[in-house]
């Protein structure tokens, strides 16, 4: 990340990062059987700025707080969060409806290196719900398409029914200046797309390995295999970025819940250059 991007990211942090602001759910959309998107607007009417890849702490009052990546911006101040219901807090968030209020702290964390990637080929590689934190980066790259070389979006899901944002994928695929490839782990007869894993997509993708930046988000094992495939293709570790996930509580590096080796995922991540954490990714205790 450039110093400019760092400064911008720091500049949008709230004055007291531990005080949640009330946000109202203005729209709620089911994405998958266990995944939904909430469109939020600030009750105080203040604008909300963020960088692609950052996350917020969302409060389901009475249940707790959970770190949720920002999955897009509908319009200025209207934030999108795509949530998978996998526990107490996210279950409660799933039960909320239009008009309900959540608490929000953020944005936090280091963003995707969209500035550093300028004038280079860009590989955006997602698995499962990992497409959600990458969607703002995709929006940014496509909104500034002329600043980048080849743009490739590679996505893997469990089954065809688990493909996130299918309309977005279709829209991106319909552009002539973006290469989109999707694969699933398993499918029933009738599926006309690819069956296989994300690293297979990398082998067939056309990009300049010496002059490319990769942004990878998905389950940690998927990212590990994906990074190996990128390195096999000739990419350097410092050009590969991954978004890590750990149990985040304070989001400002105080509580230590998300400690990852000598770093905190909330403060030093969630986006890391692979070269900075490569030696930690295979440590079982982490």
């Amino acid at each position: 990340m450039t110093a400019t991007a760092e400064n911008r990211a720091a500049a949008v942090a709230p004055a007291d990062p531990m005080v949640p602001r009330p946000f109202r759910i203005v729209r709620r959309q089911r994405e998958l059987s266990d995944t939904f998107t909430m469109e939020l607007t600030a009750e105080d009417g203040q604008p909300f700025d963020f960088r692609p890849g950052q996350f917020n702490m969302l409060y389901a009052f009475g249940a707790g707080v959970s770190a949720i990546s920002i999955s897009g911006e509908k319009s200025s101040g209207r934030l999108l969060h795509t949530v998978r219901a996998v526990g107490t807090v996210t279950d409660r968030l799933q039960a909320l409806r239009k008009g309900d209020v959540v608490g929000l702290r953020g944005p936090f964390g280091r963003p995707w290196p969209v500035d550093r990637a300028r004038r280079r080929d860009v590989l955006i590689i997602a698995g499962g719900i990992g497409l959600a934190p990458l969607r703002p980066a995709i929006h940014h790259v496509l909104a500034n398409r002329g600043d980048y070389g080849r743009v490739l979006i590679l996505y893997g899901a469990r089954t065809p029914d688990d493909i996130l944002f299918p309309k977005d994928l279709k829209a991106w695929r319909s552009r002539f200046d973006v290469f989109v490839d999707v694969t699933v782990d398993r499918a029933a007869p009738g599926w006309a797309g690819k069956i296989g894993v994300v690293p297979d997509l990398i082998e067939r993708a056309a990009f300049s390995a010496e002059d490319a930046t990769a942004m990878v988000c998905g389950p940690e094992v998927m990212m590990l295999f994906t990074v190996r495939a990128l390195l096999r293709a000739g990419m350097a570790e410092e050009d590969v970025y991954v978004s890590m996930e750990r149990n985040m509580k304070c989001a400002v590096g105080f509580c230590g819940h998300c400690q990852f080796g000598g770093r905190f995922v909330c403060k030093d991540g969630p986006v890391f250059a692979y070269t900075d954490i490569a030696h930690h990714m295979t440590v079982r205790e982490l």
Binding site: G127, G128, R158, D185, P189, W191, I195, G196, P199
Partner: protein
């Protein structure tokens, strides 16, 4: 001779043989045959003699496993530049799955009996062929393991 020249050119265009010497490619072109399959044509059937392997030049092939009384299980898709069918290397030389074209497929087959004969006569050729196949087999195994992990499944 003209036909073999054409097949040698097709082999050169495919990633599997792209880095091979012209001499070996010309030699192996004698084992090659050009194919075209329409959508839903079966290229191979599980249990049948594995007398060749295929290089996909165009189109998509799905590898599937037949399950009696149920729809087949789709295992993997292969595309332009892909290779399938290493049962010809492993006794008893029977296909381990069905291979079906899902659209128009153009492929080159390599005849197993012919290949074995050439490899027996020239062990360096056999070594090169195995050296080419083994990384592909390893990556397929790695991909299978990754799918077994079911990484996208719920963490509940």
């Amino acid at each position: 001779m003209v036909e073999i020249d054409g097949l040698s050119k097709l082999l050169k265009e495919h990633p599997f043989f792209a880095d091979w010497s012209d001499d070996y490619r010309d030699l192996l072109a004698g084992c090659a045959a050009n194919h075209r399959f329409d959508a839903n044509d079966y290229i191979a059937r599980e249990g049948q003699p594995a007398d060749k392997f295929f290089l996909v030049r165009h189109g998509t092939v799905v590898l599937e496993y037949p399950v009696p009384g149920r729809e087949p299980v789709l295992l993997e898709t292969l595309h332009e530049g892909g290779v399938f069918g290493w049962s010809w290397m492993i006794a008893p030389y029977r296909w381990a799955f069905d291979a079906r074209a899902t659209e128009l497929v153009r492929a080159v087959s390599m005849d197993a009996t012919c290949l074995r004969g050439k490899c027996d006569a020239d062990h360096t050729l056999g070594y090169e062929l195995f050296r080419q196949f083994i990384p592909i087999m390893a990556r397929r195994l790695e991909a299978t393991r990754l799918r077994l992990l079911d990484v996208y499944g719920s963490t509940r």
